[in-house]
Amino acid sequence: MRLSHGFVRGESLNCIYHGWVYGANGGCSRIPAHPELVPPASIKAEVFSCAQANGVMFAGPAGATMDLPDLVGWRALRSMPFECSQQDLEQGLPGFAAVAPGRFEGKVTLGGTKAQLCLLVQELALGKRMVHALCGPQHDAVALSRWLEALRLRVEEEKAA
């Protein structure tokens, strides 16, 4: 049963099916059907390294040292799914620079002002990616979100064409 369907109590993630309790190290600390039992160490969920920067969550293989991208000056705005290929997305980004693999930055004109966007692109499948958008601290979140919606509409419709 997928642990993502589970529930968090304190520092433990509990499975929704039988309520098995898993600690942050992935080990099972309690089996509600057998409250007196010390669960064997072999009952263990897979763990990943994770870290946060500027409101963005990063995950990697367990034990890996995380080489986090420098996100100084950016704040997390919104995560949005795009049903398109990487090529469709890049072709749809006007004047954005590929700063690093999966990272695009550019200026956006909103009304009379300019705003900056940083897009971190996570590939979910060949035809689907999750775009994690960051913006500057003073920027108009709603206006930028609407700009992203318009971008997505354009990219997905141009792809279909």
Partner: protein, 281 residues
């Protein structure tokens, strides 16, 4: 290639009362079939080639054998007791292995978390020791002396009680449970799960009941059982791996899992591997 042992078993494919001349197009083990009522009133099932398949009407449902029946369909004598309400609960489709649907039916440790405040509740989560055996004479898996505290054991229950259960796997994709009957102490309420394997990862589930309950309207009895089963559906559709592992591997069973351990061993021994995987999970 579907194993002969799988082909030679009985599977539910329709509710008898709902079959008319037009009938129902469905499938069994990935093979298309048509279930319909003939001019003489009898229900027949034909394969894609028009060949008539062996049919049994029992427990209000139509059962078919896609191969050559290895034995008769199981019986539930309680169904013939006078005063019993026989309830056909209605089919629900689930994107899971038919074997997973049966195994979930045999499990009680999930009651407090999935059927919260009905069949179980925290902190009453402990599953006490019970007995399991594979009965050689009938070739069925039985679990007995199962006890569990339930806030609302049945539609007829007035409050929380410790329910006693027996579980019986009577066919590869059909199980029956016997539980304390609140309306008639000393008798069992009987609830069956009859699973139609459409494919290895898709099934139609036909719940059925034989109860003592003189007061609850039929629609309420049906809906109580549908409510319970539908609470399991999202669990069933998210179990991984999709096919039921019959070899020990990453899944680590506990004492509470004795019935499902016996069920998996029984399936493996009999070569009933449709909906199962032999590679360790």
């Amino acid at each position: 290639m579907i194993p002969k042992a799988v082909m030679d078993e009985w599977y539910p494919v329709a509710m008898a009362s709902l079959i008319g001349a037009q009938g129902r197009q469905t499938q069994i083990l990935g093979l298309p079939i048509r279930v319909f009522r003939q001019a003489d009133g009898a229900i027949a099932v034909h394969g894609a080639d028009g060949k008539a398949l062996p049919v049994i009407l029992r427990f209000g449902h139509v059962w078919v054998c896609p191969g050559t029946p290895a034995h008769d369909l199981f019986t539930v004598p309680e169904a013939d007791q006078p005063g019993r309400r026989l309830v056909d609960c209605g089919v629900v489709r689930v994107k899971c292995s038919p074997l997973r649907a049966v195994e979930n039916f045999l499990d009680i440790a999930h009651f407090p978390f999935v059927h919260t405040d009905i069949l179980g509740a925290e902190p009453h989560t402990e599953v006490n020791r019970y007995e399991v055996q594979i009965r050689e004479d009938s070739d069925e898996v039985w679990a007995t002396k199962v006890h569990f505290y339930q806030p609302q054991a049945a539609k007829s229950a007035a409050g929380g009680i410790v329910t006693e259960y027996m579980y019986r796997v009577a066919a590869p994709t059909a199980a029956v449970l016997y539980k304390t009957c609140p309306a008639r102490p000393g008798e069992w309420d009987v609830i069956g799960i009859f699973v139609q394997p459409l494919s290895e990862e898709l099934c139609d589930v036909w719940p059925w009941m034989a109860l003592y309950d003189d007061t609850t309207p039929m629609a309420s009895l049906i809906q109580f059982q549908q409510m319970i089963f539908l609470q399991d559906r999202s669990i069933l559709e998210n179990q991984i791996p999709r096919l039921l592992p019959l070899d020990p591997g990453m899944e680590i069973p506990t004492q509470a899992d004795l019935t499902s351990i016996a069920y998996r061993r029984w399936l493996k021994r009999k070569g009933l591997t449709y909906g199962a995987q032999m590679v360790a999970a």
